[in-house]
Symmetry: C2
Subunit: 139 residues, 2 copies
DNA sequence: CCAGCGACTTACTTACTTGCAAAGCAACCT
DNA sequence: AGGTTGCTTTGCAAGTAAGTAAGTCGCTGG
């Protein structure tokens, strides 16, 4: 149970963008400042573009820019852009009604944990992280 | 961010043990009833033995048995037996003081989530899951 | 004491994540 | 038009989780 590098990098990049005044950011800039492998970061940024969090443009003066205010981007948004819908556990057989479904007591435990986690992530915006302001909400 | 199969299997096995009256359980029994690959389960059970949750004995009449009451085994215990100490994210450079440490705003977010998660797991025992009783505590 | 049972161990696939490298493509500037 | 810039895509290598296969070791009942 771990936060993937991809998600960590995505949050790190968006937080960096939120902190700086610039309008447009290049991969090279972010990757150097945040110590993220360039080509790997490219794949991550692509996902954030596809999910509508960022827009991108090639060429000189090109780069990535925000599509909406960082205050309107929650960690849940970032999570889902990178990882898709959260699913803390896969049921035993994918795409099949699990044979053990009825006697499966622990499923509801993971469901609860997942719900708690999603609520937690949903209450924190990128802006909150950039301004170190998230504690007020989390507590 | 997902619960590993290993942890899921471990919880599933212990819950199964908690529900049944028997004193001793074989790999074959658990693996058949819970649909867990035998040889993979063997490795998981080994960890639970090494961490003192179960004891094991070979030969006829052998198998695994509980070392303490399932009410005294929390999900946190199981987690740590299988995965070791929880670490939701690895800092950028392992075993090195991170260069970005001071400007690293998101670390405390993950720290909070980790703390919440550990508290959640710590409050639920295997017995609670087996008796479908955990909601009372979680809410 | 020895054969069978069941835990334990090792080695080998398979798939996914992370990371690296290089090539392709679009916009812009001269 | 052509070259620079920066996004985009593809392929490959290493590491880890998950699963498979097959063998080793120790207890115990006949």
């Amino acid at each position: 149970m771990q936060v993937s590098k991809s998600l960590d990098y995505a949050v790190r990049s968006l937080t960096y963008i939120a902190k700086e005044d610039a309008k447009v950011f290049t991969i090279r800039d972010i990757s150097e400042k945040q110590h993220i492998p360039q080509n790997y970061l490219a794949k991550i940024m692509r996902k954030l573009v596809q999910k509508g969090l960022l827009s991108s443009s090639p060429g000189p003066e090109g780069g990535y820019s925000l599509r909406k205010s960082t205050g309107d981007i929650s960690l849940k948004d970032v999570y889902e852009a990178i990882e898709g819908d959260m699913q803390l556990i896969d049921c035993m057989e994918k795409n099949v009604v699990c044979e053990l479904f009825n006697s499966c007591s622990q499923r509801s435990v993971w469901d609860h944990l997942q719900l708690h986690t999603l609520n937690f992530l949903n209450d924190i915006s990128v802006e909150d992280i950039a301004s170190n302001n998230f504690r007020n909400k989390a507590e």
